[in-house]
Symmetry: C2
Amino acid sequence: MYKFDETPVMPKGFSCASRNCGIKEEGDDLALFYSEKTAEAAAVFTRNLVPGAPVIAGREIIKKSKLQAVVVNSRVSNVGTGDEGVKRAYRMSAAAAKELNCNEDEVIMSSTGVIAVPLPVEKIESGLVGMKADLCSDPLIGASGIMTTDTYAKAISISCDDYTLTIVGKGSGMIEPNMATMLVYVFTDAAVSAKDLDTVLRVGVNKSFNMLSVDTDTSTSDTVIAMANGLSEKEVDLDEFQQRFSAACIRMTEMLARDGEGATKLLKILVEEAIDEKQAKIYARAMVNSPLIKTMAHGCDPNIGRMLMALGKCFDNDLDVAKLELIVNGVTVFADSVKTNFDEKALRQSIDSDEVVFQVKLGLGSGEATAYGCDLTHGYVDENAAYYSS
Amino acid sequence: MYKFDETPVMPKGFSCASRNCGIKEEGDDLALFYSEKTAEAAAVFTRNLVPGAPVIAGREIIKKSKLQAVVVNSRVSNVGTGDEGVKRAYRMSAAAAKELNCNEDEVIMSSTGVIAVPLPVEKIESGLVGMKADLCSDPLIGASGIMTTDTYAKAISISCDDYTLTIVGKGSGMIEPNMATMLVYVFTDAAVSAKDLDTVLRVGVNKSFNMLSVDTDTSTSDTVIAMANGLSEKEVDLDEFQQRFSAACIRMTEMLARDGEGATKLLKILVEEAIDEKQAKIYARAMVNSPLIKTMAHGCDPNIGRMLMALGKCFDNDLDVAKLELIVNGVTVFADSVKTNFDEKALRQSIDSDEVVFQVKLGLGSGEATAYGCDLTHGYVDENAAYYSS
């Protein structure tokens, strides 16, 4: 629907930098995102009951709804580190504020990597010194510093006459490989109040990142932060902004799903005609998270039994098999309570691509939802069974 | 606690047989379990919203609380087959009743295998002819006819002076490999009323089979049936019977978990000191189902981060990290909010066995629960990605 910029750019007034500060043996492990003007800000964090120190600190910082910078390290997540971990998180933002000459309480921090290991904050403090000079307008540079097991740096932007919207993200693959942590930063020079930005962020996240799953394992560090610095100085139509914002979030969600641990293909589950959106989400998530759906997609097998099973295991929901229609990559495979006579060979060939779309028509109402995920492969087992946690 | 018989036997008056009736190219695909006297009976079935035809029919048959036989086929599950499927399920029990010369409405049926494929009921009808002559007292014979991807036939018995209790089960591995279907039949010559048997069955199943998961995918055919024919003619102490019944169910659960698709080890998750049993079950299930816990067990890695994550993702539950203690194979790995100084090499060696016990002490109350599962391996991906559904 929207045309994304061929080469992603940072919005007016935003810049970023990445470097190696010695936490990783090689590759960038420290990133800085900066707005020359304090921005209106909003954030959503993981619902995990064991949130990381940066999430605990971040929830306090975002209360002011103002941010000028984000500082992120990879390799060590600063989770399960007690009170000392929270102190080190604040030392991280203080060091970034000093380097950028801005207010400490307008800098937010993220950390991603192994859990229950002390944050090497001295390396981060030293690494930040002089980093302001590296700031540039290429969001892929910032994206490289937050990567863990992602196979490539992820940034997209969408520009219109009035403003630019840029998203930098890191994968919901495992952390080195430890845990599906997703870090996403949305920057815009559009003029939006913190209150409106918060609403737009939550609507966008609910339709995109919150419908993404690589392996059902919710990280202790998931964070999405949005910053709007208003430097475009144009009035924004909020509905149009919401649509553009959501479209960009969905695009980034698809990128994260495709690059999930060991993934070879994107799975999209479209549930339609549910009683309501809540029910549609339950069914879509059950499908996208089922190991049997994930392996059948990997094996290019249009297995009706597994689709029926995955829907049916959503206990306490309405399901009328007689009204149910199952469609895989546009081919109806189940209707009127029985398997249809589809061309199985042709459908197998169609599933043997980098994207599989499962469409579920429930025939019950007008609720709908889409979930995003990936296939389950040897690669997932390899990365996560071979991992050393310390 | 209880000593199981070295060689399993059927209780007094019970017998079984298996044969190949032509549904599978080779190997037994039809099994018959028979009591010479009509037994008091109880059953629990899958909660899947797309139950198989035998589950739909079985729910009607069990209302009478009387059974004299169970007939089971493997290879085709008779699920997603519409009204015709239900008719064929009843044809199956009618044919068994005719062969055994008992009442049609006292014979229950199960089917396990591929979904959305018509049941070849003529083969079953022909196969049953003359099968009464094959009935024998070895429960492993009956167990062989209900196998799908199980690697061995599963039957156990526990005998005391007063009665024998025998369980025949098939794996919660995939069906050929399609779906984690569990079929379990419990036979006893103890004298127990149908009402008491139903209570004992539900208590036993809740602590055993309902706490088992290979891959979170609930089958459309799961069935546990209990039959008590009273031929021991001794009074039963119901509490003692319950304990013995539950112990046998737990033993069979562990056998099914160990033989899960591609599994190399049994995972036991003991959650203690929860607010209540309900909460303990939520945490235990989250741990046993987490792909990251399953792969770390496979990789022999005592990864504290993944344990914290799996507990923490149980949103809307109480969790106090300061009170939390995590113990792996008897070694405390997390306490007082931080990782302990345990001998990692020794613990890795201890995890490198066929059983891993994760113990979670929540410090919140006296609720407890145990969940049973297995590791996630290449074998699981291979069996389920390579599968052809038709």
